[in-house]
């Protein structure tokens, strides 16, 4: 009886060890299959939070997850409504300069806010189309993202 219990306990321990290995051990040497599980999707990595208008300024903000960054040169904003609404080029803060295969580039980490103005005589934008593109520090880049967002008017 004692021997049977001992065998059972050892067998259970053996299986537990294998199960632990199955959960924690990478699938193969050299492959980074885990990277696929660990990386965020673009919408989680680069959260376009809000477009808010206060008087003559429209503020567009992103929350960039730690370990990810957006390229300044890939941020584009266009007014979709009302008809005829236009926007000047977005005013962006100074980013961090990096050098890569494509030369130098300015990037943003953390929180990002763009100030948008529109030409005098043009209607205040109520709906925007926003494009942006970024990468993970882990060496993975995401396709350009394009989102449409309604402007919240804070002056009312």
């Amino acid at each position: 009886m004692k021997t049977a219990a001992l065998s059972l306990a050892i067998g259970a321990a053996l299986l537990s060890g294998m199960a632990a290995a199955d959960g924690f051990w990478p699938q193969k040497d050299g492959a980074r299959n885990g990277a696929s599980r660990d990386l965020l999707k673009a919408d989680e990595a680069f959260r376009l939070i809000a477009a808010e208008r206060d008087g003559k300024v429209l503020k567009l903000s992103w929350d960039i997850a730690p370990g990810y960054y957006l390229y300044r040169k890939r941020i584009k904003v266009q007014a979709l409504a009302p008809a005829g609404a236009r926007l000047d080029a977005p005013q962006l803060p100074k980013g961090e300069m990096v050098q890569d295969e494509q030369g130098s580039a300015e990037i943003y980490h953390g929180s990002l806010q763009a100030d948008l103005h529109w030409p005098s005589g043009s209607a205040a934008p109520q709906r925007l189309q926003v494009s942006y593109q970024g990468c993970a520090e882990a060496g993975v880049c995401y396709p350009p993202q394009t989102r449409q967002i309604d402007v919240i008017d804070l002056s009312h």
């Binding site: 306990a9 299986l15 060890g17 993975v140 880049c141």
Partner: protein
């Protein structure tokens, strides 16, 4: 009391042995699964292509884009490997998640010596997702056996040593040096 301690020690040893055995048994193993069928891409000339065209070759599919810096960093080693291993049956293809004109403009500077394919951004994201790229990032590569099994997938760049090892592992031996 002594027998309880012995049982505990035996269990710990057994658990460690199980863990070690699993590690040993799975070292270098690959989880093969069939390549999904019916995935359609386009050549830069607009002609449709399916992955089945390259059946019989060890196929390395490398999704890339001109806006993807790590992709541009990785491509020269793919060009080198295509040249080095073509005679032994390696075929690399490069579906680009990008505008065809932007892709064409980079073929010369990058010296790409393997077929480059395109598709609409949505269709490419969909294909990558079906191939196991949940986050949708680039570069993304899969290695497919001559009989259509996915041998490996990688989100992010391969190091030259990783890729050479992987290809050598799955190609028939070359002529003796």
């Amino acid at each position: 009391m002594r027998s309880i301690i012995l049982i505990i020690v035996a269990c710990v040893i057994a658990a460690a042995a199980g863990y070690g055995f699993y590690r040993y048994a799975h070292e270098g193993a690959v989880a093969s699964e069939p390549l999904p069928t019916g995935l359609q891409l386009s050549g830069l000339d607009g002609k449709p292509h399916g992955f089945e065209e390259w059946r019989g070759k060890l196929l390395l599919v490398n999704f890339w884009a001109t806006w993807c810096t790590p992709c541009l960093h990785e491509i020269p080693q793919l060009v080198k490997l295509q040249k080095q291993y073509a005679a032994r049956g390696l075929q690399i293809i490069g579906p680009a998640v990008d505008d065809p004109d932007a892709v064409r403009s980079m073929l010369g500077p990058l010296g790409i010596n393997y077929p480059v394919l395109t598709g609409t951004p949505d269709s490419m994201i969909d294909i990558m997702e079906k191939l196991g790229n949940g986050p949708g990032g680039l570069p993304f590569s899969i290695l497919v056996s001559p009989d259509g099994l996915i041998l490996d997938r990688q989100l992010g760049e391969f190091t030259p040593a990783q890729l050479t090892k992987l290809i050598e592992q799955h190609l028939p031996p070359g002529p003796a040096q």
